[in-house]
């Protein structure tokens, strides 16, 4: 991989980590309302995955979407502004943390009903098939989503219709506070894809380059018209499910053990070891991410609230 690309991936991961830490602070200050689900620990998943897509490839995900939004190319300014509910947010302050989208970046949302966006993903992919274009739909979801009926309806349909979809399960071990083995009849999620005759693979989600490599291969498979592919990415969230999580379902030692597998730390070590960049160069990247984040928070805080007269805008598209 070229140095420029390496540094870009590193920048994305550091920016997302710092963004999420800052979001937690803004939440505690009461500046972010509602629910807030942080992506800390899972940065390598969408960073590696989305770095492998082409511009015509669509991305759709669940509610833990800030990092995915950043990786799709939405500016940090409009992500923070959306968190603060400002008019300059990517969803104009109407969506909030769980509902970010920017279709100009082929990012089709942040969807907050668990599993409900999987059937929608089949529709995104159907449009490409219908028009004969070569786009691939990348649909991300958590392990918990694989227990709801929508999952089974959607992946069955994707196979029956041979749709160009890459299903990506971010298995972070818990659906809220319920461990995978307490909720799913199979603990290796990709076995569910196996049941629908969908080719599948799994990858260590704490290693951004491994994720990127497998995603490159999977996306090309799908693009060739081979139908859906299912990728299970094993990862872990270092913070609670959301900000209001007492974390009674896991032990501090378990979290600590995973934190030793920090995806940013792993990537940092690998870049240095392989001579991809120097420690100083990586520090410069970290400083740039910090500066961009600070500017974004400033931008968001000084942005206007949505005007009251816009309350009824966009309920319907027809005039």
């Amino acid at each position: 991989m070229e140095k420029k690309e390496t540094l870009k991936l590193y920048y994305q991961m550091v920016l997302i980590r710092r963004m999420e830490e800052t979001a937690a602070q803004l939440y505690q200050q009461g500046k972010i309302g509602g629910f807030l689900h942080l992506y800390i620990g899972q940065e390598a998943v969408s960073t590696g995955l989305i770095s492998a897509r082409q511009p015509q490839d669509k991305v759709i995900t669940a509610y833990r979407d800030h990092g995915v939004a950043i990786n799709c190319g939405i500016s940090i300014k409009s992500v923070i502004a959306e968190l603060l509910g400002k008019a300059t947010g990517c969803s104009q302050g109407r969506g909030g943390s769980m509902h970010m989208a920017d279709v100009s970046k082929n990012f089709w949302g942040g969807h907050a009903i668990v599993g409900a966006h999987l059937p929608i993903a089949t529709g995104l992919a159907l449009t490409d098939k219908y028009r004969g274009s070569n786009g691939v739909t990348i649909c991300m979801f958590g392990d918990g989503a694989t227990n709801i009926g929508y999952f089974h309806e959607a992946i069955n349909l994707s196979k029956v219709w041979n749709l160009p979809i890459l299903w990506v399960c971010e298995n972070n071990e818990y659906g809220m506070g319920t461990a995978v083995e307490r909720a799913s009849a199979v603990s290796e999620i990709r076995q569910k894809a196996e049941g629908y005759c969908i080719p599948n693979d799994h990858v260590d989600g704490m290693d951004v380059l491994k994720v990127r490599q497998i995603a490159l291969e999977a996306i090309e498979q799908v693009r060739k018209g081979n139908g859906p592919f299912f990728l299970e990415v094993n990862t872990y969230r270092f913070r609670g499910h959301s900000m209001g999580d007492p974390e009674r379902y896991r032990k501090a030692e378990e979290v600590k053990k995973w934190q030793e597998e920090d995806p940013i730390g792993i990537f940092h070590g690998r870049i240095i070891a392989e001579g991809g960049a120097t420690a100083d160069e990586l520090e410069a990247v970290e400083q740039r991410a910090e500066a961009d984040l600070e500017a974004a928070v400033q931008f968001a805080e000084s942005s206007p609230e949505p005007a009251p007269e816009t309350l009824f805008d966009h309920i319907y598209a027809d005039s």
Partner: protein, 323 residues
């Protein structure tokens, strides 16, 4: 004007819109090879092919989800749910996704999708297959809900629904498919969200829609024999709800009966009655009456089923109550 059945009218609208716009396609259970469980899409599969007339598995959430996703990205799907009772299996996608995504993402994309479905009782299908839950769907801003009572309205409204850039739930009635009505030849549309006076009269206003338009018309015919002139306002769309013709009529007759097939509690009649009072309380010469389905899960037995459903006699009685 040709006299055709409502089935033919709906079928014509679909056919003509598919000929007009290559982005329009149909998906649903048994819409293709079978020809539609109510035979509305008979012949479509052979003419348009399997890419545009897509048979689906029995997966209501996936049907509506796929319709939403393809509409978001530029197609104009017409999804068929075999009956409105099965819409509950896709409830999240209808009311929580289709009705909200345009707003929630700040209008970034449109959702030009139509969900055709079939409601109503009276065919001895039992409690799970005979419902008229129209009011539930009309509750949600972001969704449009249309329920025609004549062949002409069915054709014109379905064409408007397909051309609309918003999600439209298009509710047909299982016992109206064979009913004939005059329908203009060729291309015409009827705007969504416009009620219509289907029959003029000076003595009492009936506000109704869908199958109950037929029931109310029969009641009006009977009442006419006694010299009672009934005016019938057909809502045609439940959301957006156009109250103007009903309010104007009520101001003229000062008496109103609302007739719906669904249950009375929290129903269409409750909403319409409330709006009539809000807009024209001073015009009321008698308390407004509602005719609705009796509050039981609809039984299979024919006599019991008919007892529970609103009948012509119930409408006549309610009209006499307000006179």
């Amino acid at each position: 004007m040709a006299k055709i059945t409502m089935r033919e009218a709906i079928s014509q609208a679909l056919w003509e819109e598919m000929e007009r716009d290559p982005d329009v396609f149909i998906l649903g259970e048994e819409v293709g090879v079978w020809g539609g469980s109510y035979a509305v899409t008979k012949g479509f599969y052979d003419h348009f092919g399997g890419e545009r007339v897509r048979d689906t598995p029995i997966s209501e959430a996936a049907i509506i989800g796929a319709a939403i996703g393809s509409a978001m990205t530029g197609l104009r799907p017409v999804a068929e749910l075999m009956t409105i009772n099965f819409a509950f299996s896709a409830m999240d996608h209808i009311v929580n996704e289709a009705a909200k995504l345009h707003y929630m993402f700040g209008g970034q994309f449109i959702l030009p999708l139509v969900i055709r479905t079939v409601g109503g009782g009276g065919r001895q299908l039992g409690a799970t297959h005979s419902q008229s839950p129209d009011a539930i769907f009309a509750h949600f801003p972001g969704l449009k809900v249309v329920a025609p009572g004549t062949a002409q309205d069915a054709k014109g409204l379905l064409k408007s629904a397909i051309r609309s850039n918003d999600p439209v739930l298009f509710i047909e009635h299982a016992t109206l498919y064979q009913v004939r009505g005059e329908v203009p030849e060729g291309d015409f549309t009827i705007p969504i969200g416009q009620s219509k006076v289907q029959r003029e009269g000076r003595d009492v206003t009936i506000v109704t829609y869908s199958k109950m338009l037929e029931t109310s018309t029969k009641a009006a015919d009977e009442l006419a024999k006694e010299g009672i002139q009934v005016e019938i306002v057909d809502l045609r769309s439940l959301r957006p709800l156009d109250m103007e013709p009903a309010i104007e009529s009520f101001k003229k007759t000062n008496r109103a009966v609302i007739v719906e097939e669904g249950w009375r509690s929290f129903g269409v009649g409750a909403e319409v009655e409330s709006r009539l009072y809000e807009a024209a309380f001073d015009y009321a010469d008698a308390p407004i009456q509602r005719v609705a389905q009796k509050e039981v899960p609809l039984p299979y037995n024919r006599n019991l089923e008919q007892l529970a459903l609103p009948q012509v006699e119930d409408v006549i009685q309610a009209v006499k109550e307000v006179l």
